[in-house]
């Protein structure tokens, strides 16, 4: 591996100081947290710097942490890959519960477009400056965000799984 993770860490800390924190090696991927307000600058630096060269945005997705503090309820995770040195990194940006929003990275990577739409669709995370932020896999009329943990897997109004049909009531089961 030509590019050491310590180099990535030093370069990021030199440039961004406390914006980039919590560096940790998780299995084969070097991971860290980035302050959500600076995601564009950090990603641009990672992509364009002559030694870092993270040229490929592999993956972008959201996470919901219902048990975390209100300012860390949601996270957007970016996986980036440097193809020349073959190094992968994982960037996590935490967002608050009331107004989860983050800048779009479609200006850096065209492929982020649909992945951000998917994240919006399922988590309700707003990507500021996104050219076409509307639902993608769910129907447009939907009002909830189904991948949030409080959203039940099955429709509570279903009658075909009613206990009464199985000879049980809630009292005698």
């Amino acid at each position: 591996m030509a590019l050491e993770t310590s180099v990535i860490q030093t370069k990021l800390v030199d440039k961004f100081d406390t914006i980039v924190t919590d560096f940790v090696q998780q299995h084969d991927i070097f991971a860290f947290e980035v302050d959500a307000t600076s995601i564009i600058e950090v990603m641009q630096f990672l992509r364009d710097d002559a030694t870092l060269r993270f040229n490929f945005l592999t993956d972008l997705c959201g996470i919901h942490y219902p048990d975390a503090t209100p300012d860390k309820q949601f996270a957007v995770v970016y996986h980036m890959h440097n193809w020349r040195d073959n190094v992968r990194i994982r960037i996590k940006c935490f967002l608050n519960a009331e107004n989860p929003e983050i800048d779009t990275v479609t200006s850096l990577f065209l492929g982020a477009n649909w992945q951000e739409r998917e994240t919006y669709d399922f988590y309700g995370i707003t990507f500021k400056g996104h050219p076409q932020l509307k639902r993608i896999l769910n129907m447009d009329e939907m009002t909830s965000f189904p991948m949030r943990k409080e959203f039940p897997l099955e429709d509570g109004g279903r009658t075909d799984k009613d206990d009464r049909f199985f000879g049980r009531t809630t009292d005698n089961c």
């Binding site: 299995h27 997705c61 995770v77 996986h79 990577f109 492929g111 076409q132 896999l137």
Partner: protein, 411 residues
């Protein structure tokens, strides 16, 4: 409100009126799909057409969205393979093996060499099956039905191999944590040998039918091209990226399951058009055959699963006759397996590109979060840009050569 947020038919109605006033041209809106035979799956493209030429388009996806990521958060780990089957159903074993390898990475399980080689064989067979479908269907979409009917027999033979190994054909649900559910029978090996013997002649005949066919070349060269820079920015991976000339292949970049033990080349194209994608897939079939031959020749003796009683179901005679067997069986079936709190990302080279599994565990019996990096979903967004200015029939050929699988696109 941005214009793009409007439904495409409203957006296009303005453009149609504007262009009519400007130069009297008559644009029209065409619905391609959702259930059109030429789209090979359920997705809709609303196209703005100038005669037969495409001016603009918008893809509407999600028609077969089945909420796999949500379901996965509510299922024990061993019940998630059936979900992965149903993503890229043309090469289900690759998805299955990718999921087991992700889980093994999270659980720190080392699998025996024999299992790794068996996995390589089954994944390469799946890749061949995937490319058979894509390339022969591209032939059908450009008017050559013969090749399709001819090579599809051999997809059937691959499915018979799956059937011999795991009992299922399309949605295979193959493998277990740490290995396979049973050792491969001598008949399975014989079927693989037979396939390796018969298939190359058939495949080269299929290649001869199309590769230098004047009509086929006219229909595919310079159709739906994309540059390497654009493709990388759009997140292309797999054969579609390699057709643009970038030799990115996870089997070589980040070898998993002992791919480093085998000699093979990565076919690359040059112009990123439909013809190059066809040729890259053809080349990959030959490389896959090479890998399978090497794996069979080097196949070591040994167990067909790792020795991990915490995760691998014991044989039935142990369950009935020993205390430990019964305890392990019960714990595994009830989902009570020890899982460390961790985050892993594991990519495999799927039929269409980098298939990634991003798994977050919190120590409970289900994943806290499981995200699938689905190559189709990511590269299909470039489709509109690739077909702008092309004829409608070219769009069909482009769509088919991209090998967009609706199941994987919509998850």
């Amino acid at each position: 409100m941005s214009d793009l947020l409007l439904p495409p038919e409203l957006r296009y109605a303005d453009i149609i009126k504007q262009r009519q006033n400007e130069d009297g041209s008559e644009l029209s809106i065409l619905n391609l799909g959702p259930t059109h035979p030429a789209t090979h799956g359920i997705f809709q493209n609303i196209l703005l057409m100038d005669g037969e030429r495409i001016v603009d388009g918008e893809a509407t996806v999600g028609y077969i969205h089945r909420a796999f990521e949500k379901i996965a958060e509510n299922r024990p780990f061993y019940q998630i393979t059936p979900l992965t089957d149903r993503m890229n159903y043309c090469s289900a074993p690759i998805n299955n093996m990718g999921w087991w390898m992700t889980l093994e990475k999270a659980l720190n399980i080392e699998v025996p060499k024999r299992v790794q080689y068996m996995r390589v064989i089954i994944m390469e067979l799946a890749r061949i099956a995937d490319h058979i479908i894509c390339n022969s269907v591209l032939g059908v979409d450009t008017g050559a039905l013969t090749g399709f009917l001819y090579v599809f027999q051999y997809r059937e033979k691959i499915y018979e191999i799956y059937e011999e190994i795991c009992g299922a054909r399309l949605t295979t649900n193959m493998g277990r944590i740490g290995g396979f559910e049973r050792d491969w029978s001598p008949l399975a090996f014989k079927k693989i040998d037979d396939f390796l013997e018969e298939f190359p002649a058939i495949w080269s005949e299929f290649e001869n039918l199309l590769t230098r066919n004047r009509i086929f070349m006219d229909r595919t060269i310079d159709v739906g091209p994309i540059s390497a820079e654009k493709a990388m920015s759009y997140g292309f991976t797999g054969p579609n990226l390699r057709a643009t000339g970038v030799d990115y292949d996870i089997r070589v970049m980040q070898p998993y399951s002992s791919y480093e033990d085998f000699e093979f080349d990565i076919p690359v194209g040059k112009s990123g058009d439909t013809y190059d994608r066809f040729c890259v897939r053809n080349g990959e079939v030959w490389e896959s055959l090479k890998i399978i031959k090497q794996a069979l020749a080097k196949m070591p003796e040994g167990p067909f699963h790792a020795d991990v009683p915490d995760y691998y179901l014991p044989p039935k005679e142990d369950v009935y006759n020993t205390m430990e067997g019964l305890i392990y069986h019960f714990k595994i079936v009830m989902g009570e397996i020890p899982v460390p709190v961790t985050e892993v990302y594991h990519p495999v080279e799927g039929g269409n590109g980098e298939l990634g599994f991003y798994l977050i565990t919190d120590g409970s019996r289900t994943p806290f979060r499981l995200h699938f990096r689905r190559p189709c979903f990511i590269y299909y967004q470039a489709f509109n840009e690739m077909v702008q200015g092309q004829m409608l029939s070219d769009a069909i050929a482009t769509l088919s050569s991209l090998n967009v699988i609706a199941g994987e696109l919509d998850a």
